[in-house]
Amino acid sequence: MAATAIPPRSPIDLSGDARRHRRERAIGILFFGAAAMSVVVSAAIVASLFGKGWEFISNADWGDVVTSDTWNPRQNSFGIRPLVISSLLVTGIAMLVAVPLGLGAAVYLSEFARPRVRSVLKPVLEVLAGVPSVVLGFFALGWIAPNVVGRLFGEEHGRGGSMLAAGIGVGILTIPLVASVSEDAMRAVPRALREASAGLGARRMTTTVKVVLPAAVSGLVAAFILAVSRAIGETMVVFIAAGAATVGNLSTNPLDSGLTMTAGMASLATGTESVKGASLAYPSLFMVGIVLFFLTLGLNIVGNRFVRRVRQAY
């Protein structure tokens, strides 16, 4: 080999300072460790969910869990249906609010707004995204309930929280998410498509509806899915404004109070010390967590796949 031709103590040693090499390697390992932490976190989430949830999974009366119409863990009643149905109901209402408003705002910002206007309005919308959810919970209970729900459906429904008030609050919270994901999707549509459409004599509205929106459709689907996932996982708005204390009853009326999966966890955890050890109530917290985790994980994986599809297409 040619390498053996070089004498062992060559004056031109290109391998460099050994200490520098060691430092480089140590730093590389350090950064890898930081990146690996994110995997550790995921593993820890799954492990803690199942580690504690197992006691519930193996000991619970599953017939009761699936069929019972009441969630009252402190009284050993673990019907999960009321929680799931309230979650879906609140999420549905939230989407009715967030999808039209968020999509409309996104179409305007992406297709109609002049750059100057956009550069002012978009940051303001991002500020809305930064409002903590407790604040929206307070707003939903203190303003939306009496002034929107109360006015529309009778004053008695506006006193105290309801699933409708909470749903509107969650919807407001998800507007910026819908707007930013769908705006990104529309801006990824190449200019050439718009110009071709304009060249054929289409008006801007026609171009938007017939060319840009269909071209960006997978991004819009992604926006919807990610927003659903976010709304299902939202806790504080529902905990404050949906009106239920600790017991969830089956109800499909949005004007009733309701306990979603997330709010159920929060209210059970308020003072878990007294609950702990007494019954299956403490492990049931983790069981609901398992359902919530895998539901949102599934939605996020599908949603992110749609986001990627937009990026690959153009």
């Binding site: 950064f31 930081a34 994110s38 999509l103 303001v124 604040v135 966890m265 967590g289 949102t296």
Partner: protein, 328 residues
């Protein structure tokens, strides 16, 4: 042919009529209505924000001129006229500190690995997908993680004797883990935007990989990293759900042993039972007493919102500056 005749002989009126018939109807009514509807969507969203701020300020502002200092320095109390947010401020302050100390180095380190070191292989793309999915995990689930890991497993580490295990440090660590994906994603974006030429120049004069990162990549990406840190702090300070799970005290003073009103900068708070601003707000908002659930809650919200919105706005401005610099 026809056009040239118009060009040469027609009067302005004729030319205008021809132009009109080529361009179509003058007023595109449907298009205008469509645009108006879109603007309305945006304005309604912004109006809600304005309404929310007006509602909160209208309800709670009176507390500050009346007993501002008292409100900031008093502890929780059954009596709405005396109640203050001191413990909430202490809790939120130390949570923010923990988040910066833990999540900033970890997040930046992970992002550097993913962008500068990682080979394009399955492990790397698994880590990337994993980070993205972590960003979408609901915050209550992080609360369960905190409860199982930081409260129970790290029991001895996060608590001193006699104060129980649901400490402020456990809460801070939980939220640090919660914001970690945000930190990684924003930092990675900032690093990806660093021009390749800077790296190549540094390698060309003999710098090692770490020296390239330290002297070229990190300084260039600094505004982006700062944006990530600010967004993380704002998120952590506004987050209540995980803290409920980890065991934030929601009771009012008297029923809450171990919640002292110490000095803000005393780090021994970290090993005590805790509450934080969003949890104080939640507790008060759910109380049936009107003085609590409107006036005091709104006043507490003002305190928190000023901080969160300020930090967020700085982050947004910083990012827009950075993007402008990059594209120019």
């Amino acid at each position: 042919m026809a056009l040239t005749t118009i060009e040469s002989s027609a009067t302005d009126a004729v030319r205008g009529r021809v132009a009109r018939s080529i361009e179509g109807r003058r007023v595109d009514v449907k298009g205008r209505l469509f645009e108006a509807a879109l603007v309305l969507c945006l304005l309604v969203s912004l109006a809600i924000l304005a309404l929310l701020l007006a509602d909160v300020i209208g309800d709670g502002w009176s507390v500050y001129p009346r007993r501002g200092q008292n409100f900031l320095q008093n502890g929780l109390s059954q009596n709405p006229v005396k109640a203050g947010i001191a413990q909430g401020l202490i809790g939120s302050f130390w949570i923010a500190v923990t988040v910066v100390v833990v999540a900033l180095p970890l997040g930046v380190g992970a992002a550097i690995y993913l962008e500068e070191y990682a080979p394009r292989n399955r492990l790397t793309s698994f880590i990337e997908v994993n980070v993205r999915n972590l960003a979408g995990v609901p915050s209550v689930v992080y609360g369960l993680l905190g409860l199982a890991v930081f409260v129970e497993v790290f029991n001895g580490f996060t608590s001193a004797d006699g104060v129980g295990r649901r400490t402020l440090l456990a809460a801070g660590l939980t939220l640090a883990v919660l914001v970690l994906p945000i930190m990684i994603i924003t930092t990675a974006e900032a690093i990806r935007a660093v021009p390749q030429a800077l790296r190549e120049g540094a390698y060309g004069v003999g710098a090692t990989r770490w020296e390239v990162i330290r002297t070229q990549v990190l300084p260039y990406a600094l505004p982006g990293i700062l944006t990530g840190a600010l967004l993380s702090i704002a998120r952590a300070v506004g987050e209540a759900a995980p803290l409920i799970l980890v065991g934030a005290l929601t009771g009012l003073a008297g029923r809450s042993p171990g919640l002292s009103v110490g000095s803000l900068l005393d780090p021994s708070s970290l090993t005590e039972r805790f509450t934080a601003m969003p949890n104080v707000i939640t507790t008060w908002a759910k109380l049936p007493k009107a003085e609590f659930n409107t006036t005091d809650t709104a006043a507490a919200i003002i305190g928190m919102l000023v901080f969160v919105l300020l930090v967020n706005s700085i982050a947004i401005v910083l990012r827009n500056r950075f993007e402008k610099k990059r594209s120019s």
